[in-house]
Assembly symmetry: none
Homo-oligomer: 230 residues x 3
């Protein structure tokens, strides 16, 4: 069951100056819960506090996501930003492709469209080779080579629902996420095919050491609902 520890979060998200430090409180644990972003806004988001610093040379990011947004609408799916850089962004682009950006130009994948039903989506990247791929319902996309040698910087902020364009905000409704996200997990290494498939089918896998949905520390802002997963 989810633990509903609530404590004040003043100053926790130093990257953003505005409402976060005023209105939000940290909660813990999202087991069997879904985040519902019901409307298009420029103020609804969930800040997620990682269990360890996100200076990364490899990662696996997984989530289950559903949206009703029309196909030609840009959608932010995951945003990790430090003061000066978009460190790790995942988007659905206007042309329907899913993209992955680290500090500059991104890389683009043709995947089955996101729909009103949940898609299980993982992303893996490893700095040594630059090999990166998305995994949809446990099936790997074609590998692409993206920024070999790069490192993701630590001490930033992870948001779901909005893309912060700059240090002190810059949220845009037309990029916001509308729909549902659940079961987000992140590891600081590349999971094997069998592990990703196990995660997809809801079997037991090693808990995310950066984000673990069941023990997630998070802060709700604006109109985001935490709903039983049913």
């Amino acid at each position: 069951m989810s633990v509903n520890t609530v404590r004040f979060a003043v100053g926790v998200l130093g990257v953003f100056g505005w409402s976060l430090t005023i209105s939000s409180a940290t909660q813990v644990g999202l087991s069997d819960k879904v985040l519902v972003f019901p409307y298009e806004t420029d103020f609804s988001f969930v800040a997620m506090i990682p269990q360890k610093e996100m200076g990364l040379r490899a990662f696996t990011l997984c989530m289950r996501v559903a949206t009703e947004l029309p196909e030609e609408r840009q959608i932010i799916l995951f945003a990790y930003r430090t003061a000066d850089y978009d460190e790790l962004n995942v988007w659905r682009e206007q042309d329907g492709r899913i993209s992955f950006y680290m500090s500059g130009d991104g890389t683009f994948f043709h995947l089955p469209p996101l729909t009103t039903f949940r898609t299980s989506l993982c992303l893996t990247w490893e700095s040594r080779t630059g090999l990166t791929a998305f995994w949809v319902e446990g099936k790997r996309s074609t590998y692409q080579v993206y920024k070999p040698g790069h490192s993701i910087r630590p001490k930033g902020t992870v948001l779901l629902g909005q893309d912060p364009d700059k240090h002190l905000g810059g949220l845009e409704a037309v990029q916001s996420f509308v729909g549902e996200i659940t079961d987000l997990n992140m590891w600081d290494f590349v999971l094997s095919r069998s592990m990703i498939q196990a995660w997809h089918y809801g079997h037991k896998v090693p808990k995310g050491n950066i984000f673990d949905w069941g023990n997630m520390e998070y802060e709700l802002n604006g109109n985001v609902m935490v709903v039983d997963d049913d």
Copy 2:
């Protein structure tokens, strides 16, 4: 097996003034039966008499539906109307979306298209949160928040096959249903995911306390056929 009690229905459907009070007779029970609406008409429909009044603050509506109608054709799938309001309407819109209306503006979902094969379709709504979703073949769509706090009014009439636009009729052929409907059930609460999936797979679930296909009281009007489900 279905019970074929027939009794006269004069005056039962007080909302409509016209042919209902003259031609139809109430029948009971549709176990293993399918309603076939073979042609486009402005006079064929089935009135369904609920087991309890439909003053509702939550519901689950399920049915199996198949149609050959072209994609750009508007189709009424379920209509519950009181004297002044469309209390609960389900449509397939001209743009292919499935919509749900209560007393005014509706909410729209992108679902897989209805086809010549049967689609199992459920709709859940709960007033407290406004959370609503369609369930297709047991899979839930993205939640939408629709009219939290609203109540559906009692003492109206439920029709399949036509949309009554006003108190005394106003049926339109171009909105009529053509195809098959079976296994319609309705509950005055939100069924759990596992119950909806059980219903989808034809397993045993609690009988609908508003509508129970096996014990349905209904009145056929115009060209509607009751056919063995084979």
Copy 3:
């Protein structure tokens, strides 16, 4: 496990005069490996050395292939060329069809599109009848009759990744392969349906007597990566 025998290949590929004789070294064995062609180039390819001469009056060619390339982009999937002829080419055409050419005009098939996920693709042809078909995920396309009585000439060169338009090169980036190829096998006879399906599902089948992925002799040129299949 793959055997990584490396020996010099000077002069092995006599058909082409250019960099092959200078830069490449033959390697052996690709068990559990994938060839990743990460970028569009006019210089990245893999030359594959057959286990026996390719004077053929029948064959089965199988591979698993994934690509992110847009649908309207021509793609070379397999090229076997002798000095004067394209002996056996497989393409995805600009109109999305998959084609098969031997020494002149080709034959064209409407198959499911190649995607970012792996497609298992086989091609069978037999000179006596001319019957040819593609097999996608173990399912056979409609037969076509193509060049009955024809023979494929020996002593050519097989390339993956590029189409050599003439004796001394003529590679074009806009025809190059970008994506992944794995598990390529070729036999000098037509495999039965059950054998092709067994191959599709990864079951044991007779090893390819022309190409056997696990014992493949190959030479990497340009930017081609050999990656663990995970």
